[in-house]
């Protein structure tokens, strides 16, 4: 026994050394690229550092106090939430509907898939300019088409009531192709035998098939799409930056745009870092809860 034990211990430590070496590259990269910067941001959020400054002082939680007392921060947070609440269901719903339609019709499948995926591959900043032209109050295509039906012109991006929904529509347009591709892949993995069983059991109309087989079997994909879309919606920045700069009167100010202006326009790096920490906490919490809640509902084993 005693003779064996050291040898075994030796072998165990050898094995763990090999394991440690094997994961080392990943750990180093994670630490360097993810945890390190996050930690740095968290530290900066407690200081008055400005970009380029050679020294800084620790302020404690003063940045956070200023942040939570700032009315514009709350406006931008509420705006972001409204944006997410419109974009997530819109993107997931439209992606699913388009995926179902494409899969239901065998001809030209590849073409439709590619066509709907194009917005995902385009550069958002450039596309934002195109949208800006389309939404232009006088020469824009949207208002001209609405005028044909006698609907009065709206200044979509300058009216505080319409600016967020308009941005959300652009967000949906850009994101639903990605959701569609994921749903198409998910649809392909639904076993045909389940549709056969449903046909025998009497669930053979389109809505019954959807309820009994398709939607439940797409559960894991839907969860993934939801989390992805929500995180991406929280990141909304380029359309706001290009089209509205947060206006009119902060009606389209969102978290990341606030972060950008505070950090790089006003050079309040410490304050921007505090904002970043808040943003990170929200996104991580959101992802964790979604994963927790949905995971239990979409995996059936």
């Amino acid at each position: 026994m005693t003779a064996v034990a050291p040898g075994r211990q030796h072998r165990l430590s050898h094995a763990s050394l090999v394991a440690g070496l094997a994961v080392a590259p990943a750990v180093v990269l994670l630490a360097l690229l993810l945890f390190g910067p996050a930690l740095a941001v968290a530290v900066f959020s407690l200081t008055d550092w400005q970009i380029g400054a050679s020294s800084f002082r620790f302020l404690g939680l003063a940045n956070y106090q200023a942040l939570f007392a700032d009315r514009i921060f709350w406006t931008s947070l509420v705006n972001t939430v409204i944006y997410v609440v419109i974009v997530v269901p819109g993107t997931v719903g439209l992606g699913l509907v388009v995926a179902l339609l494409i899969e239901a019709q065998p001809s030209l499948r590849g073409f439709y898939r590619a066509a709907h995926f194009l917005p995902v591959m385009s550069t958002m900043a450039a596309m934002a300019i195109v949208w800006g032209t389309m939404l232009h109050p006088t020469i824009g295509l949207v208002n001209r088409m609405l005028a044909e039906f006698g609907i009065p012109a709206t200044n979509w991006l300058r009216d505080p009531r319409t600016v967020l929904p308009a941005l959300a529509v652009i967000g949906i347009w850009q994101g639903f192709g990605f959701a569609m591709v994921l749903f198409v892949a998910g649809l392909k993995s639904v076993p045909q035998s389940l549709y056969d069983a449903a046909a025998i059991d009497g669930a053979d109309r389109a809505l019954d098939r959807l309820r009994v087989v398709t939607l439940p079997m797409l559960g894991p994909v839907t969860m993934f799409v939801l989390i992805l879309t929500a995180t991406r919606a929280f990141e909304v920045f380029d359309t706001v930056r290009v089209l509205t700069q947060g206006g009119p009167n902060f009606a389209s100010d969102v978290l990341l745009y606030r972060l950008y202006t505070e950090s790089f326009d006003f050079l309040r790096t410490g304050y921007g870092a505090a904002l970043t920490v808040v943003y990170l906490v929200i996104v991580v919490l959101l992802t964790l809860t979604q994963a927790r809640v949905l995971d239990r509902r979409v995996h059936y084993t």
Partner: protein, 374 residues
Amino acid sequence: MSGIALSAVAKSHGATPVLRGISLDIRDGEFLTLVGPSGCGKSTLLRIIAGLDAQDSGAVVIGGRVVDGLRPKDRDVAMVFQAYALYPHMSVFDNMALPLRMRRLSGAQRLPLVGALSPGRRPIEEGIRHEVEETAALLDIGHLLSRKPGQLSGGQRQRVALGRAMVRHPAVFLMDEPLSNLDAKLRVQMRAEITALHRRLGSTFVFVTHDQAEAMTMSDRVAVMMAGELIQVGAPDELYADPRDMRVAEFIGSPKINVVPAAALDQGTRAAMAAVPGASALAFRPEAADICAPAAGVLAGSITGVENLGADIFLHVAARPAHSQGALPLIVRVAPSGRRFAVGDVVGVNPDPARVLQFDAGGRRLKARERVAA
């Protein structure tokens, strides 16, 4: 009355014919097995009966009613699938209740949340619960009703699939290789359970398998299919003893029937095996031959293997007939009580001429002289 009549059912996938005009009468309450190698079209035929696929031509009649163009749910059939096809997100109870709910509840009553409030749903749900529990008790899965399929073993899932098929008392059960996902021991047990179920329900069962042992042990009649054609339909013992085609003789029976090409034999050996003119292959079952001294045997060769199954011993013999190029493998059954054999022993093989089956060059069976005379 729920027999099934198929008349000249044909189907092709593009230019490839899958079924070449299948005509078959399945009697009410019969257990009929469609058996054949994979790709022979047996599953396609079953799917056509179920209404999941449409035939290109021909007619399907179930219970005296032409069902062509009827949807699966309107044909009064139930189906058990190879991989069970249980809905993974539903409990066992909901899986089994679905066929009843789809039939008895209106579209509005089936809606989630809203449906629960709709008037008249309570008593229907009560009835469904009662019937599902009754069926579950019959299959001994009453304690599993609240589980999800993912939490069940293969055998239990199989029973749930059976239960879902049984719960609405269909006239016809269609089973597509339902035992192929089970381990060997469970498969033998489920064979017995399904035949017992058939006796108790008295419904028509159509069972598809590629396993000839399943076909032989379970069925009233077996229909052997090859390359989209029905080769022979008959009771298991009939197919075994009286195959009308070489392919049936070779497919049915384990170990496989011994086939000796007539061209490999000299005149005397052919006579000793009672070969008729035109016979191109002579075949005999492992139990239709005796082992004897090498000189006394019609065929002779050395033993290459001894398979001892306890009740039977199968000797693998490499025979060397007069005009054969290489060795001709034969399998002969011997009783375990007799002489002991070892690999390398040279023995004679003496087929019983009355039990030699003869086939012409096209694989069709030729009747032996004695039987033609009788």
